[in-house]
């Protein structure tokens, strides 16, 4: 085999995540079986990477922080029901400032829903599911290639921001096979994490000293965390914008649905955020050019709701739900 051919692989999205994690130098993988994410765990289990099959998803996410507090890079993957259980760990990670990567291969929920079918129903859960204020970085790739690359970006963003970074896939991308080209992406590593003894706590604290009744300390800490997340996010300003001069409508879509929406680039201008949160700042200026904004997503309008408050204007919702994408239905919904 020539070197070139070795770099080109045929993988499903979940396998691509494993490839990315290995390239990012993952130190611990933890998880609990769930469709459609399990192949990530199967893939890791066949490598030398330390692997913990946890008793539940709460243990899975909390054990990431144990590994990560020692300096190791750690990742878990799950789907809706497990993502629900992980929620307490997400806010916790933001407040203790310990990096981790969480992959949610979305399926149709809530509850057990449609376990093998794709959805984008965890948009709210990825950014407001944990109690209190926190400012997550969330990616939504739309192919196995991007699943591979954004696994590495997720690790990098986690290392830079010292926070749990979320990557949303869905059953289409997780299970779908495509060509994946290996790529060099510089790795980021946190600095000076455990040089001396350190106390991590999710209590409101400064320098490890709890300040649980000090409102000004709370505000200082929250402001610092918010600014940190926003400034790190700027290094991951990933989006696609396809301008169609003939159209006064901007269609926003992401993840697997954006692949179907791409078929309508002759009719509309298209915007695809790969970083869902913090919402891409450029969208404010881009959106001003359009009379109409449509948000197509595989839920009842979760991203649309958040975009409305971000853009301070109304957007049209195009929900493509029920776990399947049919081009004819997408066309009808967009042109309606």
């Amino acid at each position: 085999m020539t070197e070139k051919r070795k770099e080109k692989l045929f993988l499903q999205g979940n396998e691509a995540v494993v490839l990315g994690a290995l390239q990012a130098k993952i130190g611990l993988y933890t998880g609990y079986p769930i469709t459609p994410a399990s192949e990530i765990m199967h893939g890791i289990a066949r490598t030398e990477v330390p692997f913990f099959q946890a008793e539940d998803e709460i243990a899975a996410i909390l054990s990431l922080y144990g590994a990560s507090m020692t300096g190791a890079k750690a990742m878990t993957a799950t789907s809706g029901p497990g993502f629900n259980l992980m929620q307490e760990g997400i806010g916790f990670g933001h407040r203790t400032e310990i990096p981790a990567v969480i992959i949610d291969v979305q399926r149709v929920g809530p509850g057990t829903g449609m376990p093998t079918r794709a959805s984008q129903g965890d948009i709210f859960a990825s950014c407001v599911g944990s109690a209190g204020d926190f400012f997550p970085i969330v990616f939504s790739p739309n192919s196995p290639q991007e699943a591979y690359e954004f696994t590495i970006h997720s690790f990098n963003a986690a290392e830079e921001s010292l926070s749990p970074v979320i990557m949303l896939l869905d059953a289409y991308i997780g299970h779908g096979y495509e060509t994946v080209m290996k790529k060099e992406i510089p790795l980021k590593t946190r600095k000076q994490f455990l040089t001396k003894t350190r106390h991590f706590t999710s209590l409101v604290a400064e320098d490890g000293i709890p300040k649980t009744t000090d409102r000004l300390a709370y505000r200082r800490v929250t402001k610092r965390l918010k600014e940190k997340q926003l400034s790190v996010a700027k290094h991951y300003n990933f989006y696609d914008y396809h301008e169609n001069k003939k159209s006064d409508t901007l269609v926003i879509s992401f993840g697997s649905l954006s692949r179907a929406v791409a078929a309508f680039k002759d009719k509309f201008s298209l915007f695809r955020p790969i970083r869902l949160f913090p919402i891409i700042e450029q969208l404010k200026t881009i959106s001003k050019k359009y009379k109409k904004i449509i948000v197509a997503e595989m839920n009842e309008g979760q991203y649309a709701t958040l975009l409305e408050s971000f853009l301070k204007r109304e957007v049209k919702r195009v929900p493509i739900t029920g776990g399947e994408i049919r081009l004819a239905e997408v066309r009808k919904a967009l042109l309606k």
Binding site: I58, A59, G66, T70, T197, S202
Partner: protein
């Protein structure tokens, strides 16, 4: 190193006067000093509650987890740093109610984690509610007419996996020190159930101050040596 070297100086300890947690904390620090264990390889993980504050008082690497989630954190540490000492120091509610699933599976897997359970037989931090460790007939804020639920038998759970189990009490400091030492020495999962006085949320309700509580504990608990099993109010070490 000295006991004091393992104590964090820059924080004020917030436990009530007369609380048994001081003694458990001292015993663990003393044993770390005795072992001369390098600070950088020592991890203390606590959960939420009065006992949950403990990790912030150690001058080692430490983390205060969420309620009940100490053990998964310790597992994560051991996965990537097998030579590290992972110490879990938490309350009975934290470990045996909300955290029981994690404890059970860590015991089943025989993870090399040292668990010190401060057992005051209630949820103290939140106001003295009934816990899975509350004895029958005990009056608490959620069992005002006396508790009718049997208490959890954590000893048999741990022993069913042939792991190290010890029961001690803050009323018997020498015994406590010995149990901490043996648990630290043990290779594999070890659990020390430490009956500890809470003068505020238990004592006050029962009309006892610290001195009375300790006297009551001294009468109530009996130390047993070289035994294969322990009855409810017996203290001792079981290694299988």
């Amino acid at each position: 190193m000295k006991t004091e070297d393992y104590k964090r100086k820059e924080v004020r300890i917030r436990w009530c006067d007369g609380c048994g947690l001081y003694m458990i904390y001292n015993a663990v620090c003393a044993e770390l000093a005795e072992l001369n264990f390098p600070k950088k390889d020592t991890y203390v993980i606590s959960g939420i509650g009065c006992a949950g504050r403990s990790s912030g008082y150690f001058d080692v690497n430490s983390l205060q987890a969420l309620h009940g989630r100490t053990i998964p954190v310790a597992v994560g540490i051991k996965e990537v740093k097998p030579h590290a000492k992972a110490i879990v120091f938490s309350g009975d509610g934290d470990l045996l109610a909300i955290g029981l699933n994690h404890l059970l599976h860590a015991s089943r897997r025989n993870d090399d984690i040292k668990v010190f359970c401060s057992n005051n037989e209630v949820y103290a931090m939140t106001g003295g509610q009934r816990a899975p460790t509350t004895p029958i007939k005990r009056v608490t804020t959620t069992s005002p007419y006396g508790n009718q639920e049997p208490m959890i038998n954590i000893k048999d759970i741990i022993l069913s996996h042939n792991n190290f189990f010890a029961r001690s009490s803050t009323a018997f400091p020498d015994h406590l020190t010995r149990c901490v030492k043996e648990a630290m020495k043990h290779k594999g999962f070890s659990f020390v159930d430490i009956k500890s006085q809470c003068p505020v949320n238990v004592g006050r309700k029962l009309g006892m101050d610290v001195a009375k509580m300790l006297k009551w504990y001294k009468e109530r608990f009996k130390i047993k040596e070289n035994v294969k099993d322990l009855k409810e109010d017996e203290l001792g070490i079981i290694k299988r």
